[in-house]
């Protein structure tokens, strides 16, 4: 990707459209290849877009496919389940308190006779909605701050790094409690507050990537050719960041779901009568000795959802790794190459927590006290 875009900055427009099949062509479907597949039979094939290549690599990743299918099944179940039940999620039925699983109540009922099957589905939707929203907001904020910090450097970088450190030093629970008291606790506000806590990791990752891209030859070439800041960021920097960001967002959804359920478990998150998977566990935890299923069922769904999301994130990381394309089956058999490729991707940045630090160190800088990533939030573990 990197070397092709360097060449194209000098090349003419037509040449670029014909030759480059990098990420920048994504979203330009009507590009004309020099030779179409019909003209020279068997010699050339239609170039695949970046999105299509990624998708093909993604679905070859077995775990990722399992994760994707699993997640789709769970989401569909959460949406369809209420139609198979005669009860609403906040409908009390005192005569049917604490009944065990039956045809009428597949997961049983709680202390005031609400159907837990419907409540679990509603809680699952609520958790996922918050997770998705918070992850998207955090990504927007994080990408913006990270890119700006790295691109403009100097005092901007210092200011944003200190802001990140500040977020990491103040316990997350405290921020959440204070914000919840101030703004209320409906899903949207909860998602916003969670995003305000979680943008730091994405900012660090993006900052690291942008720092290394900024020094790349093709950016210098673009600058020499007279490209504006906006064009350089939009055409050269951001497309290279997207891969890392997509992976981080995916994993962030899982993180948010865990964090939200933890908060709800502590009584600081979703408020009743609304349910999230965390409140369902909290409601039932007193009866763990007598009725463990009621406690563990919502918890089991959290684990399942997060597991699927992490599988997808892992697959995306492998599929989006540009190095994988270069190495693809040069000398070894295909299988060996695939294995090697996978490990390369993983070694590049495995656990999200240290990903930022690896990139930052690679960028040749080690500033800012909390660069390495931290889980300073009491309550997270």
């Amino acid at each position: 990707m990197a070397d092709t875009s360097e060449a194209t900055e000098i090349a003419t427009e037509e040449l670029r459209d014909a030759e480059v099949h990098g990420p920048r062509d994504h979203g330009n479907p009507e590009q004309a290849p020099l030779f179409s597949a019909g003209e020279v039979e068997g010699l050339t094939e239609k170039p695949k877009s970046f999105g299509r290549l990624t998708w093909e690599k993604f679905i070859r990743h077995r775990l990722a496919l399992v994760g994707l299918v699993g997640l789709l099944v769970i989401v569909a179940a959460f949406f369809i389940a209420p139609y198979f039940s005669n009860y609403a999620f906040d409908q009390r039925n005192v005569r049917d308190r604490l009944v065990g699983p039956s045809w009428d109540h597949p997961f049983g009922t709680d202390e005031i006779g609400r159907d837990l099957f419907v409540r679990t589905a509603q809680g699952g939707r609520y958790s996922m909605r918050i997770g998705l929203m918070a992850a998207v907001i955090a990504t927007v904020i994080g990408t913006l701050f990270g890119a700006v910090a790295a691109y403009f450097g100097r005092w901007v970088d210092v200011a944003i790094s200190q802001l990140i450190n500040l977020v990491l030093v103040v316990p997350a629970l405290l921020i959440l409690a204070v914000f919840a008291l101030y703004f209320g606790r409906d899903a949207n506000r909860l998602a916003l507050v969670l995003a305000l806590l979680l943008w730091t990791r994405i900012a660090r990752v993006v900052r690291g990537v942008v720092l290394s891209i900024k020094e790349a030859d093709y950016v210098m070439a673009a600058r020499a050719a007279g490209a504006s800041h906006g064009r350089i960021i939009g055409r050269h920097v951001l497309p290279n960041v997207i891969g890392a960001v997509v992976v981080e967002v995916t994993l962030l959804v899982g993180t948010v779901i865990v964090l939200e359920s933890t908060l709800s478990f502590l009584g600081l998150g979703v408020q009743r009568p609304n349910a999230s998977l965390g409140t369902l566990v909290a409601d039932a935890k007193g009866s763990i000795a007598t009725d463990p299923v009621r406690v563990l069922m919502p918890g089991f769904f959290i684990v399942l959802i997060v597991l699927c999301i992490n599988f997808i994130g892992d697959g995306l990381r492998d599929a989006l790794d540009p190095k994988a394309k270069v190495e693809g089956g040069k000398f070894d058999s295909k299988k060996a190459a695939k294995k090697r490729r996978k490990d390369g991707a993983k070694a590049g940045g495995i656990d999200g927590r240290t990903r930022g630090s690896a990139l930052t160190v690679g960028g040749g800088r080690l500033t800012g006290s909390v660069e390495q990533g931290s889980n300073s939030t009491p309550g997270a573990p």
Binding site: V169, S261, G299, S369, Q372, S374
Partner: protein
């Protein structure tokens, strides 16, 4: 090196001050310690005035933190209303309790993560590797409270004679003799350790794999050095570099106390104190805990960065 550490410490102090200032303002604006007194006002004017005086409520909100800073500098962190002790005393006892489960949890997680990453890297794509990687995936997906509840249910409830489960009560005294203490520590430390093993072992595996593919490992093997020496001396030392910094951060997270795990296992550490202080708007206690945990985070981040520089001479700290 010394200049670097000094500079980092000097940068951290205003950072902590700003954090404490914001915490103070945030808690002050959202809660009112006199809330209970408004209803009975003419009769309980004395108590009302006393609380106003203790919390300096007649001073402007934005100036009030500075009074606290002044007192904190003399070593007086105020009195915790929920626990009924001076905050410094609470921090000492609770911090000690937290350390009692943090240190074992850390040691166990570090040792297991190390062994698992070496095993997985050496037996890549074997059944064992897939098995442990799968376990790590599952472990990563567990929220701490679900894991703690599962562990409590299995070892506390189903096998009641092994580890007694106590009610949800955070004021319990820690065990009177060593064996009782060990019994109380085991479950919370175990559930914390499992979470960290899952994260660290995947990271360690990748780091070890990357190292084993380096040229100098091939050289070492070509020279005829025994496989054990290659793995445990040549490779491990280099693979440890990123892992050690991760451990420094893990340790700071553990020492800061874990609200959920400690609450579920009724362990009187910093976490439960923090959450009760927060719910009861016990401002002095909350500030004290933020000061302590914030300092721990800052110090261990510094240690992590310095260790990175010491272990890997290619990285220059400046």
């Amino acid at each position: 090196m010394f200049a670097y550490i000094t500079r980092r410490v000097l940068v951290s102090i205003p950072l902590l001050a700003v954090a404490l200032y914001l915490v103070f303002i945030g808690v002050s604006l959202t809660t009112d310690p006199r809330a209970d007194f408004y209803l009975c006002l003419p009769r309980c004017q004395d108590g009302f005035d006393r609380i106003t005086e203790v919390y300096n409520l007649d001073t402007n909100v934005w100036l009030r933190p500075f009074i606290w800073f002044g007192e904190a500098l003399t070593g007086d962190l105020g009195e915790s209303t929920t626990i009924g002790q001076p905050v410094t005393e609470v921090l000492r006892t609770r911090g000690w309790n937290t350390a009692m489960i943090a240190v074992p949890a850390f040691l166990v997680s570090a040792i297991f993560a190390l062994l698992l990453s070496v095993y997985s890297a050496r037996h890549q794509y074997t059944f064992g590797d897939y098995f442990f990687t799968g376990l790590a995936f599952v472990g990563l997906a567990f929220p701490s409270f679900v894991l703690a509840l599962v562990i409590q249910n299995i070892f506390g409830v189903q096998f009641q004679n092994w580890f007694g489960v106590k009610p949800f009560n955070t004021g319990r005294k820690t065990g009177t003799n060593f064996l009782e203490l060990l019994r109380d520590i085991t479950l919370p430390a175990m559930s914390l350790a499992i979470l960290f093993i899952s994260a660290d072992s995947r990271f360690g595996r990748a780091s070890m794999l990357e190292t084993l593919n380096q040229d100098y490992i091939r050289t070492a093997r070509a020279k005829g050095i025994s496989e054990r020496s290659v793995v445990w001396k040549h490779a491990l030392r280099n693979a440890l570099i990123p892992l050690v910094t991760l451990w420094a951060l893990n340790f700071s997270a553990l020492l800061s106390g874990s609200v959920v795990t400690e609450s579920i296992f009724s362990w009187p550490g910093l976490g439960p104190a923090f959450i009760t202080g927060l719910q009861a708007s016990d401002l002095d206690l909350v500030l004290g805990i933020v000061l302590l945990t914030g300092s721990i985070v800052v110090v261990f981040n510094l240690i992590a960065d310095v260790l990175y520089g010491v272990l890997d001479p290619r990285i220059r700290l400046n």
